[in-house]
Symmetry: C2
Subunit: 339 residues, 2 copies
Amino acid sequence: MKGKATSFDIAHYAGVSQSTVSRALRNSPLVNEETRKRVFEVAKQLNYKVDKNASNLRTQQSSTLALLLFEDPTADESQINPFFLAMLGSITRACAAQGYDLLVSFQSTSADWQADYEDSHRADGIILLGYGDYVDYQAKFSSLIEQNTKFVCWGASVDNRPDLTVSCDNYGGGKLAAAHLLRANRKDCAFIGDASEHSPEFFARYQGFKDEFNQHGITLNERKMANAISTEESGYHATRSLIANNIHFNSLFAASDLIAIGAIRALKEAGIKVPDDVHVVGFDNIAVASFTNPPLTTVQQDTTLAGQMLVDNLLKLIRGEVVENTLLPPSLIIRGSSV
Amino acid sequence: MKGKATSFDIAHYAGVSQSTVSRALRNSPLVNEETRKRVFEVAKQLNYKVDKNASNLRTQQSSTLALLLFEDPTADESQINPFFLAMLGSITRACAAQGYDLLVSFQSTSADWQADYEDSHRADGIILLGYGDYVDYQAKFSSLIEQNTKFVCWGASVDNRPDLTVSCDNYGGGKLAAAHLLRANRKDCAFIGDASEHSPEFFARYQGFKDEFNQHGITLNERKMANAISTEESGYHATRSLIANNIHFNSLFAASDLIAIGAIRALKEAGIKVPDDVHVVGFDNIAVASFTNPPLTTVQQDTTLAGQMLVDNLLKLIRGEVVENTLLPPSLIIRGSSV
DNA sequence: CGACATTATGACACCGGTGTCAGGGTTGGA
DNA sequence: TCCAACCCTGACACCGGTGTCATAATGTCG
């Protein structure tokens, strides 16, 4: 037998029509049990597999989801944010559990990214994942909605469509971190991250953090903030610049673990002890966090649940079901960097 | 316009036949330049995208590769080996660079994994990635070859088909590690990992390591070996058991970084100082390695190059070109755990 | 025994492109 | 003027399935 077997080949050998083969293989109740058995046997013998292209073409759906992973173009190319890798893992698993395949694609945040996986019928829906400047995205989101493209995104909120977003309760997470530092009476706190509308997730973390301090009658000093994107390098440099400017603090909240790790490096280098001189709290609970020196206290995001919710919500959207906004509860992981 | 536009819609609005639309969009030289321009305009207006299912069905190829990631079933489910995640990243990028999409799928090593992505025409070829018990795989490999399925795999060697494998020079890497420890005169060395034919990569690392010692007239003590799979937990327990058995050593070579990190934890717990009492060397250079305490000396595998070679070689196989066996050179990264 | 429901199957159009072939129109050389 | 060459286009079969419709065979009941 040259080439791959088709349903016609099976039909020939099983002595039935091709239609019957198709029905038999999909367990249609219309087919006689004996016939079905015969068809299955022949199919197995010929190592037959349904041609997904033909099947998808006819049914107009692909049983495939696409994952677009946005990378901060300013970040080091070779390293991918471990938090998103963890998400990728859980999304992959969630897809498999639902019988869907997953197409993975990396996108640069700057370039005008293409979301044509759905237009071209390669995927039934799209998952958008990544930090990045979501201000620019709203226009893109609108056009996706207009074209009736099914998608969900992590973190970034889509104007007027809370149902398209799954995210961690970043605000609540920020409060958790603040409450923890306040319990240890570390009131003189620095913040490293981007607390602007360009990074809605970081912004929410900062807001929660600030509000918790405010509720304790403490106003954060704006001079003790430094901008950073979510890389170790960036966190390192931001913290260095604070130190270089003689800014003092006895605790530090980083908008992400990578930033926190870079901050710890800068602190150590300057002879500042963690946690004795400065308590450090990060966000994400990436795998590395427990191996740093000292181990990093951090606000955990449940990536397993997050992946599941993204996939579940997307499938609901595809099926036309109603979806609620999904906010996942964060939890505080206390380690050596703050005790 | 309800539903998505097809080439017939474009043909209608552009006043040409559907055949011409198809040709025009694929930049066939047969089409008049003016006609082409008109077609492109209409296509853009209708936000037309070629239906991949139809296209793939007709051309019998998918411009898609599938990545099967094997996980050690005994490992913690929620954590994925960071080394493979790094590989996943570089493979994704390499695919994109070649204009291919990537389907990602996790497989359990134990279950009889399905490689039907190619049979079902969802992918043109398959990349196999993962540690694991490759002895069981040889039969599967044979059947893949027999069915003329295009695939390459990382690490594991396929009987008589070196061209289907891309791997790091694990043997050479082991020698690098050994030479490094010998330079510091740390001759009393323990090995943590699985040095059996079940883990060909670990086995090769151990062989190179042992041979280098032998060439210096030193025979490794088999009692100072402990089995471990590539997880932190496993490395921790293996090392603990060595310590519990009162086995002494002044250096330790771990078959992977995760094992090394677990080993360091066990050593610290037992009051053994790294690197003063024991020099530790790992393998992989995962991202975590530079953040451990002390930072981990390790043998680096070039994941970027590895991903590229896997994709390049697979595409060559698909195109029917000849492929050479690909061995990537490792390099030693010296950090605090061994100086 | 005839009317009718039930079961199992085959024939066929269809999904949306791609590739082949035939043919119309124009140009150029003899 | 006629034929060949060239350029461009349309008609149509085809990829390998799925879904609908028609129909043959069998069973059921009055």
